[in-house]
């Protein structure tokens, strides 16, 4: 897939949950002792200006009908790596981009409550907008001092700064690569700040991170205007 001028060929998307203190407080989750990881599958990925498809099965079921935005700073892996140490972490990063971890919230809460996997609620088609471009590590000296913001129809809903990340990027790479090999193109999303809320068909979602840019996606109901 092409993000700005760069083509990447990811084999996986790893997301970090509960990684901003303000988001942890609003969801009443416990402060994690180590990073909480979950995958999204590649069918989630869309880029700038492609529509987020609101699944009909959620829209038509009042018990499930809630889909949330989650703006996140993501980084892209530049080389195959395993057991990376914190001090060498940045050598393995190609650059940074904006990721929107779209989540079927009621379904997620129901599944968590039933001790089921966090999969279906996170991995509907188009539930992972990414872009608009990848900014190289050389251009972003400190990824832990970037303003991030998400707007729905122009109204600011999430506003924070990556300095509030609980687990910082080098720690995340060290932790993840203790478990898994990362390969070039793999995407790691670092978690979302507070202010999560619902989207609905017709909404325009703008996710902005300082020095990277704005990722814009319109929400459409599944089966309607899919060719736009």
């Amino acid at each position: 897939m092409k993000l700005g001028d760069l083509e990447i060929n990811p084999s996986k998307i790893i997301c970090v949950g509960t990684n901003y203190m303000d988001h942890i407080e609003e969801t009443k989750l416990e402060i994690p002792k180590e990073p909480v990881l979950f995958p999204k599958t590649l069918n989630c990925l869309i880029t700038e200006n492609q529509p987020i498809i609101y699944p009909k099965m959620l829209y038509e079921n009042p018990k499930m009908n809630r889909v949330d935005y989650e703006v996140e700073l993501a980084f892209i892996i530049s080389k195959t790596c395993k057991n990376v140490k914190v001090q060498n972490a940045y050598e393995n990063i190609l650059g940074y981009t904006v990721f929107n971890d779209i989540t079927a919230r009621k379904m997620q809460i129901k599944d968590i409550f039933s001790k089921l996997p966090w999969f279906r609620s996170k991995s509907f088609d188009t539930f992972g907008p990414i872009g608009p471009r990848i900014v190289g590590v050389d251009e972003i000296k400190d990824p832990h001092d970037l303003n991030l913001e998400l707007r729905v129809n122009g109204e600011v809903k999430q506003k924070s700064n990556t300095k509030y990340l609980l687990f910082k990027i080098p720690e995340l790479i060290e932790y993840i690569t203790r478990f898994f090999t990362l390969v070039p193109g793999d995407i790691v999303a670092t978690g979302t700040p507070s202010g999560i809320g619902p989207i609905k068909p017709g909404d325009l979602i703008d996710a902005t991170i300082e020095k990277i840019g704005t990722l814009s996606n319109k929400v459409i109901l599944e089966g309607e205007n899919e060719n736009n």
Binding site: P10, S11, K12, P39, P117, W118, F124, F180
Partner: protein, 230 residues
Amino acid sequence: MKIIKIGNTEINPTKIICLGRNYLDHIQETNAPIPKEPVFFAKTMNTLITNNNPIIYPKVLYDDEEKRSVDHEVELAFVISKTCKNVKAQNAEEYIQGYTIFLDMTARSMQKTDRKINLPWYRSKNFDTFGPIGPKIIPPEEIGDPHDLTIELSVNGSIKQSSNTKHLIFRIPEIIDYISKYVTLEKGDIVATGTPGGISPILPGDVIEASIEKIGAIRHEVILEDIINK
């Protein structure tokens, strides 16, 4: 994306979807509730290895006695033949390229701890080499009925899992119907249908052999991760 060769067939999977809790005897042995709809989760591509390659026992698990618990789970898997979404059960077979054996290796005590505190089923399922697959992909016409195959796994020659795919709770057409309501399946994607009872821990030095009738057998030695040589 990663091209892997299973027997003579090259596939290029974009995802691996696994069913949990799909054999009654396995549900009972893990004290899990019987699901009303299929329970599914993802494994990532770093887990895939083919026949005769070693399963690497992670040092991070081996060195911690509470986490030193990795289980085998033999499963019938199928490979998707073309892109599909919202497939109806009666058309499901059109989207199957063939069948193979999959081992859903699982760090059991880590999975239990994570579930207890409402964390995702991810890290316990996705260590490198935790998804052996093979030895070949057998097309549907050679299998006939995929819900009548004996399935077996042995460790060091002693049989641990022995069942038949007729005991699957959710059958393959229902599985495709259900999963493709959520996610688009792509050519090469792997779906593993769940494991029967008899799961047990493995250790470095063990040899695992898994077989499914009409498909064949895979064999994997378990070795301890050697971090120094990385």
